[in-house]
Symmetry: C2
Subunit: 151 residues, 2 copies
DNA sequence: CCTCATTTGTTCGATGTCGTACTATTTAGT
DNA sequence: ACTAAATAGTACGACATCGAACAAATGAGG
């Protein structure tokens, strides 16, 4: 059992690395996206494609862990670009249903294709198995922080 | 050797988890800092404490992987709060030396103390050894993305 | 039904981030 | 030395993020 200070140091380093990796990867992502689009746009399209569209903005904000006011802004950008359509929610008049357009699906596919070479470059230096090994820990920490968030 | 699409999927998940963890941990950090201070402020103070002060803004920006214009803004906040002092750089008149003040060191110590309970809470659910196991991979990926950045 | 609290999404304002353009200084090449 | 290219930091502007306050709608409790 390590000493508490050592433990805290390890955790600080962990979050520090996570922060820098996020910074660098987001920047890389954005250089590959068409001008005017950010990682946040891609993330929403990706989420809707993977888990199905027709979700409410609030659902999406919760899943992606971003404040709803930030998501409003992101969705408005996606709407203006014709990548999604926001329909009224028949179940709840306060709410909306976010639907992907064909252009939205295509945008996501193109983005993934555009990032492919970078991803393969990473994969050449880091065996996917090694990345995959780290995923469970990351997911658990994510879930833990998520649950802890409201406290 | 996994199929390329599977590889890409794994990497996307990895970066996705990293992004959300960063989001959640940054938010948590900031709720523990005094009002008006951000993770970026803490990160600079922490960096200077760990690796020694007297560095130039450019050194710091490179180490933390943030654009120099962002760092200018962060340093100005730290200066206004009296947590650092920017002295002229005797080796290079274009540049400066960023020095920690006692208040700056104290601020960092207080911040770490304020975050201690959260860190210990994480540590209770995730053995530090498990976190430590993941660190080398994170550091390597960080270094890889860093080197690849200019490309 | 009829409040009242809760929830959804937006607007607004403040502020952080970062790219571009600029000045001052240093360094390299001749 | 002298000029040209590179580099440090900043000013500025565009824009993303996010908290607070708000309106509309829902749901819970009487």
């Amino acid at each position: 059992m390590p000493k508490p200070e050592q433990t805290v140091r390890t955790l600080f380093r962990f979050f520090n690395e996570v922060g820098i990796i996020n910074q660098l990867s987001s920047r890389l992502f954005e250089t590959r996206l068409p001008d005017g689009f950010l990682v946040s746009h891609f993330t929403v399209l990706n989420h809707l494609t993977r888990l199905g569209d027709g979700r409410t903005p609030m659902d999406i904000a919760t899943a992606l862990q971003v404040p709803k006011t930030s998501l409003t802004h992101t969705l408005s950008g996606l709407s203006k670009a014709g990548l999604i359509i926001q329909e009224p929610n028949p179940k709840d008049a306060r709410s909306k249903c976010v639907m992907l357009t064909d252009a939205g699906r295509q945008f996501r596919a193109d983005a993934i294709a555009a990032l492919g070479p970078d991803m393969m470059d990473v994969a050449e230096h880091f065996p996917p198995e090694r990345i995959a090994e780290a995923l469970p820990l990351l997911e658990e920490i994510r879930a833990f922080l998520d649950k802890r968030r409201d406290v």
